[in-house]
Amino acid sequence: MMKKRKLFFLLLIIVVIVIGFSIGPARKKARQHVNYMTAVDDHPLNCLSCHLYTQRSGFLAKMINASYLSPYNLAVAPNGEKLFVVAQEGNALLTIDTKTNRVVDKIAVGTQPHTVLISKDGTRAFVSNEWDDTVYIIDLGTSEITDTIKTGNGPAGMVLCNNETTLYVVNSFSNEISIFDLNTKKERKRLVAGNNPVGAALSPDGKQIYISSRRILPHKYRTPISIEITVIDTKTERVTERKILNDAYLSENVSFTPEGDLAIATLIRPKNLIPSIQVEQGFMMTYGIAVMETKKNGRIVQLLTDQPNSYCSDPFDIVITPDGKKAFVSSSGADIITVIDLTKVRKLLAESSSEQLKQYANNLGVSSKYVIKRISTGANPKGMKASPDGKYIYVAERLNDKISVINTETLDIERTIDLGGPKRITVARKGRRLFNNAGHTFQKQYACYTCHPDVGEDGLVYNMAGVGMGRNVTNTQTLRDIGDIAPYKWNGHNQSVYKQDGMRFSTFLTRTEPFAYDDLDALVAYIITGIKNPPNLRYNPTGKLTDAQERGKKIFYRTHTNDGKEIPPHNRCYTCHPPPDFTNKRLEDVGSLAETDDTIKFDTPQLNNLFNAGPYLHDGRAQTLEEIWTTYDHGDYHGVTSDMTKDQLNDMIEYLKSLRDAKFYENVNVEEEVKKYNAK
């Protein structure tokens, strides 16, 4: 009875609200509210945009959202009869019969699986679970997980070698390669890779492994960037070479020609050091490949896949046909597969001077010499594999839950395999597609994803050319888990994601037509609801702090310096960085103002998961957390740290690295923590 009455009242309230909003003065209020949140005066007065699609939990959230599969990488059985697809969101390994094009098996794997390998005899699958720090060994006969191997942080690409007795796993978050003895399932050693390594490829002779990496190597502030391709000798199990790809980043994958003479990696060539004053003439981003001669002192040539007015954004995978004649690059932000004629690439390499080869890296026209086709696909093509006979290329359309099958002769999509994900496209899914697609920038030069790979940040410092050209350089910020931490932007000018991605965004960043409002709704819904951080398995897997972290926490909450002086409240760590988000959501001055900054105060950034979010500070001048205080805080503006001993600073940083998602700190009472950690 009570329940019914409650419900009745509720409905009554709703009706009153609806009527009120439609006609009465409430409409004016609603208009004002929407205008404020969107920073425009013509956004439709649709409450649902913000209040329904951005629901993050509960019944409604479940109703409006759907669980997609999101195929990411795949493998083909040695006999070509089966296809194994890693469903990144579905946390599953899907088996597809390539004759019937049907999903015949679905094996649950760990969280956010990354890569699948199939043993030569086709009996075992190896799946790296990027957010679980494990590799599953799966018996494909019984579909059972026979072994779980503990890896480093963020296992991604893998290679089987030495007669499949050795497994190399790329630990993408902890920047290493783990080498496992598959007989004992024990880790033999770890080698240092580049920054955020991901893709791995074994040379045809089995002697070398190349590993691509995404984030840039440490470098002097505001100087040209580079990434590393790590070369490992499988006999000595040591890194033999660190190939440097200059002016590039986000190299997702690498592949060898069947002859083994060339290794080709995908890459992006960003223009972060140039003022972002225009998009025309490739002033923001270009995309391409690095062709590496594998012989000693071999050349490294970077070739673009773009054209002067059209860009192939966000290349992900590269597959070379078994005959070595063609390479396929999945341009995941442009929804195309770029087909490269390797014979023509070889010819170009043979007939070009070294000066010419250097220039090709910045030449949008040269792709016509070797790109023979651009094949349109479904949304967000990611991993690819060639069938053993070389007749087909299978493409995982991540945001389409489908596998497209390209005929390598006709270079057309011959058929599409539906993986059986939800048929409807939710608002957040639409937003995710928009996020990943470059269609909303001028000449499709870049997607949101380009600078925010995996919705995080790309670790680059951009010259956003706010006023003039050399001013206001800014460090890319993560978009993960930012629903509760408005305002946005380093200068805190944006009170909502709506405003952030609104008109000014299009005027000065995408430089094309702004998002249509329903697109904007979708994008906002995705950003607000859809994005999780990877678990902080590296520094805080269980929530129990290490001794050093615990000591560091004490420093974080301290109210007095080592010599007993009281630290003014505004200068304590927890004042501006209180849990759960470790931000007070206000603008603060931590003495980081540069001569080139227009704003004096900066939005206090959240500290959750900051351990791999370098560089730090608004303009990214601090390459490491240490540098924030050792190099860029003269005068204790950024908290009082000058009295700290080195080990105390180390401890504090260990604590900061331990910070996980905000949800773990929702019930933390700051007062109590302060009391607890300042007790004598």
């Binding site: 003439q281 965004f505 702004p514």
Partner: protein
């Protein structure tokens, strides 16, 4: 509590569906596929003189594509002359240039297809001579302008609201600019030809509708561009051009993706001259064609794959047929945002390396900025070859590079200008237009921009634009 909140939201959702349904209503589409073209009493065509295409005594003629030759309807019966039809994106209106009487100036008019009514949009003191719809509520057109100081006459582009208000000039160089079309990326494609200091070749420039970032789109020194250009599905641009030696005009195509190096001539093996091309599909197009034995230019179907003229659509010996357009809704180009600030009096210009040229590197140490009348000063480059200028807005300048002894190393360049608060960059001087900048911090931007014209009494470097503005 959570449940409560969710029920409120469901209620709101239901309400919104109702409101939405009320607001949305469908409208009728106009007849699809009608071809409208400029019908001109036969005259000798001189390609050079045919730009601008103000055809005396012409009218807009509508024909059914499948209909017979010679039939059709005069859409501009009340005009002495009418030409340059442009169909709106919703295919409800046609923009055209017209004069009611022989002595009237040519103005921009709009025709309502449904009721054939017309309304005048511009009221210029000079004849308008090319026109197009812009995404949004404005149109662009061109007309003659004369520089007050130098007396140089050229043809500039303007934009204006559909109601004839807020006229704005958007090109500022001594060129004869005519609108060709609006690219799907939102930029205006301009048929542009330098008139000062000497006459140049016709080139296609692409430029944002607010007059910023004008850059070379297509040029071919071996041919004079002629004819209106159209694009289809954002990929291919068609136009006609004249071979300077044989004087034969052909239909050519370039790819939008790489216009400078993708030209295909479709008609070089067909005798006769082609003056216009209107692609209808990947297979078919309509061309304005005059066979060697014909006295007039007719509208013909053309099969691209076979490179073959098929049957005529409209071929009347008394008339030449130009400027065919198809009345059917089409994808609106992007509406590009406007980043200029009219309150400013200058814009910024960055060259990342003045010694970077198409032919290799040069050894210049500074640049000289040339105005229409005189030099606006010289500026030393930074070590890396970069220069950073604050140039008075809406004023044409050319740049040449100099060595230490003030000898010209390279240049002068094409005329360029910046709009108020425009920030634009170039990679080098006379650089290969397909090159992108090297990712380094140009040293010049670490200092304030040098104000152009350089104040000879005070060589100190000036300040940048000071208006605080956000970036995203």
């Amino acid at each position: 509590m959570k449940l409560k909140k969710q029920i409120v939201i469901i209620g709101l959702f239901v309400a919104a569906v109702f409101v939405g349904g009320y607001i949305t209503s469908c409208s009728n589409m106009p007849a699809n596929g009608t071809i409208v073209f400029t019908r001109v009493p036969v005259a000798n065509i001189d390609v050079e003189k045919a730009i601008p295409h103000l055809f005396k005594g012409a009218n807009l003629q509508a024909v059914n594509r499948m209909g017979k030759s010679g039939e059709g309807e005069n859409l501009t019966p009340g005009f002495y002359s009418a030409c340059s039809p442009q169909v709106s994106y919703d295919a409800k209106h046609i923009l055209f240039l017209g004069q009611k009487t022989e002595t009237d100036l040519w103005q921009v008019w709009e025709l309502n297809i449904k009721d054939k009514s017309t309304r005048q949009i511009t009221n210029c003191k000079m004849s308008c001579n090319s026109v197009c719809y812009l995404p949004g509520d404005r149109i662009a057109f061109s007309k003659k302008v004369t520089d007050k100081k130098t007396g140089i006459t050229s043809n500039a582009l303007f934009t204006i609201n559909m109601d004839g208000t807020k006229l704005q000039q958007i090109t500022f160089h001594p060129h004869n600019d005519f609108i060709s079309t609006v690219l799907k990326d939102g930029r205006i494609l301009i048929n542009s030809r330098q008139v000062y200091p000497k006459k140049g070749k016709v080139k296609y420039l692409a430029m944002r509708p607010n007059g910023t970032k004008a850059e070379l789109f297509y040029a071919d020194n071996s041919a004079a561009i002629y004819g209106q250009c159209v694009n289809e599905a954002n990929k291919l641009i068609y136009f006609t051009e004249q071979n300077p030696t044989t004087k034969k005009t052909d239909v050519a195509e370039v790819s939008y993706n790489r216009p400078l190096h993708s030209k295909i001539n479709y008609t070089e093996n067909i005798q006769g001259n082609f003056y216009w091309a209107l692609p209808l599909s990947a297979e078919k197009m309509i061309v304005s064609y005059q066979s060697p034995d014909s006295k007039n230019v007719g509208l013909w179907n053309f099969l691209q794959s076979e490179k073959k003229i098929s049957e005529p659509i409209y071929n009347d010996a008394k008339f030449d047929c130009f400027e065919p357009v198809c009345v059917k809704p089409f994808q609106r180009p992007k509406k590009l945002p406007n980043d200029i600030v009219m309150a400013q009096t200058s814009g910024l210009f960055l060259c990342t390396n003045i010694n970077f040229t198409e032919t290799g590197t040069t050894q210049a140490t500074k640049i000289e900025i040339l105005g229409l009348e005189k030099s606006l000063g010289t500026v030393d480059m930074e070590k890396d070859g970069s220069v950073f200028l604050s140039v008075v807005a809406d004023t044409p300048v050319r740049i040449q590079t100099l060595d230490n002894e003030n000898n010209v190393v390279s240049g002068p360049s094409e005329w360029i200008w910046v709009r108020p608060f425009e920030r634009r960059g170039c990679i080098g001087c006379h650089e290969n237009h397909e090159l992108v900048p090297q990712n380094i911090v140009p040293l010049a931007i670490n200092k304030s921009a040098v104000i152009i014209p350089v104040d000879s009494t005070n060589s100190k470097k000036g300040s940048e634009i000071t208006k605080v503005s956000e970036m995203k």
